[in-house]
Amino acid sequence: MRREHRLNALILGLVLAVPLWAWATSEPFTITLATRAVIFAIAGVGLNLALGTGGLVSLGHAAFFGIGGYAMGILASHAQTYTPLFEWPFVLEGTKSMPVIWLLAVAASALAALMIGALSLRTSGVYFIMITLAFGQMFYYFMISWPAYGGEDGLSIYVRNGFPGLNTLDPIQFFALSFAILCAVLYLVTRLRASAFGLALGAARQNEARTRAVGIDPYRVRLLAFTLSGAITGLAGALFADLNRFVSPVMFSWHTSGELIVFIILGGVGRLMGPVLGAALYVALEHHLGGLSDYWQIYFGAILLGVVLFARGGLIGLIVGRETAHD
């Protein structure tokens, strides 16, 4: 346990140190890469709440990532053209303010997660994996063919949205903002995991009959976990859209859902910092392997395969050993 704590601190320290070093040596692109890793990490931490702590293997979290992204895209594009989103029953104007966008991204993805979860959680196991995939695909095809916001072309936002007191166009400042959100999300998830809710969620994953027998309804516990998980992933989606200043239906594709799972498994399922380490490694590998060969995905596939087959418990598991019980 202590070792995992130290490792967690080390990972977070590295994620902070690399862009700071890049800033000092004027390597803005490395900062952008680190920001990408941090945002993926937030999405992964969100999914890990459902997948790791709750045992809910969702292959449809791209839906929430995409909804968060489009919340940003839609609000900012309306602000860009000075047209309201709708005027009835009340006037909703577009906005270029990150806090407002985040609020709406979280609300919209939480609502979607609540509805998808309410239906999907009636199933379990492989069926759950597949029904979440189906919901993700529904959103994907809907966004491709819905012409109002660019369809498959997506939406470009020419200038990154603003945050009071910061210049978000400066890579290091936007990184700092993303990193602060990652820390806040990690803190929130730590609290959730240690709470009575976290205990009930873990119990529902390990033994559903036991959970029922103590008078806790696993369905409701899981639904809340799924909703919170979707909301966090949605927040990451809004940040991701701001990083790229662009959203497209690719955010909804099942490959995105797969990648989020990859982060978690690379790092370690159910580990607090698993998705952080996984996302950082993923971005680093993608960046360096891409330069090696046209066929770099073969190597990437082989590395993934190696981790699944030989590093059970992910890389954190490999380093600190089996997860021990903790009070």
Binding site: A200, G202, Q206, R210, T211, A213, V214, T324, A325
Partner: protein
């Protein structure tokens, strides 16, 4: 007042295809008593427990709990209504510590499963309730162990401890002595003897010594039907029971 049953089954039926698992079963559990349910393997004891606990819906009949019809309630609602059960095969969160399992019961009892931010293992009230339950079954010194590191017998004890944390108004216990060994069985028997003061126990048990020592009344289930109900000495003397059941497992 004392004669009003806490738990009452009225004409409960369950069939799986052609197999009749429980056929028109009626029995009751009165305050302060241990009512043992015995019968040969495959008689339908565990099915009946599942029907009472609400994990298995009945085809017909009613389950009354404290004068209330709970037939339509699911397992969660019945647990909340005050039915504390232990499972025949230990059913615990194996990755949790012993204490965490007990605290889980306390959380269920306190209905704080949706408390999101307070660290549950630092909640004095819940932890105290959990530790008291562990103390009662003799597991206090193992509180920090991972549950999958417990011996089989210790897991049975933990099952009972979790049921205790629920502060139920009736216990359903499915073979709490199984695999306990001589000493463990003796300790558990002594413990259950005092437990009936807190709430009556419907006890399914194979250990006949324990059953005849503890039970105020005994019901005998054969092929899903109750063939006899009575005081231990009545059951010992009952001809139907002797032929159907006690022939193969003499007390």
């Amino acid at each position: 007042m004392t004669d009003t049953p806490v738990l009452e089954l009225r004409n409960i039926c369950k069939r799986f295809g052609a197999v009749v698992a429980s056929n028109d079963v009626s029995l009751d559990l009165r305050p302060g008593e241990i009512h043992a349910l015995i019968g040969p393997n495959g008689a339908g004891k565990s099915t009946l427990i599942a029907q009472i606990a609400g994990t298995l819906p009945s085809d017909a009949g009613q389950v009354m709990f404290e004068g209330r019809d709970v037939t339509g309630l699911d397992a969660v609602a019945r647990a909340r209504a005050g039915l504390g059960r232990t499972f025949q095969i230990s059913s615990l969160a194996m990755e949790f510590t012993v204490l965490q399992n007990a605290v889980l019961g306390a959380v269920g009892q306190a209905r704080t499963a949706f408390s999101l931010l307070r660290p549950v293992m630092k909640d004095r009230v819940l932890v105290a309730a959990a530790e008291a339950a562990l103390e009662a079954v003799g597991l206090a010194e193992f509180r920090a162990l991972r549950t999958d590191e417990l011996s089989h017998g210790q897991r049975r004890q933990l099952e009972v401890a979790v049921a205790l944390t629920l502060r139920p108004r009736a216990f359903l216990m499915d073979e709490p002595m199984a695999g306990l060994g001589m000493e463990g069985t003796a300790a558990m028997t002594g413990f259950l003897d005092t437990l009936r003061q807190r709430a009556p126990i419907l006890l399914v048990e194979h250990d006949m010594d324990a059953v005849f020592r503890l039970a105020d009344r005994i019901s005998v289930l054969v092929y899903g039907e109750i063939v006899a109900t009575g005081r231990p000495d009545e059951i010992r003397a009952d001809a139907a029971v002797r032929s159907a059941y006690l022939g193969e497992a003499t007390p």
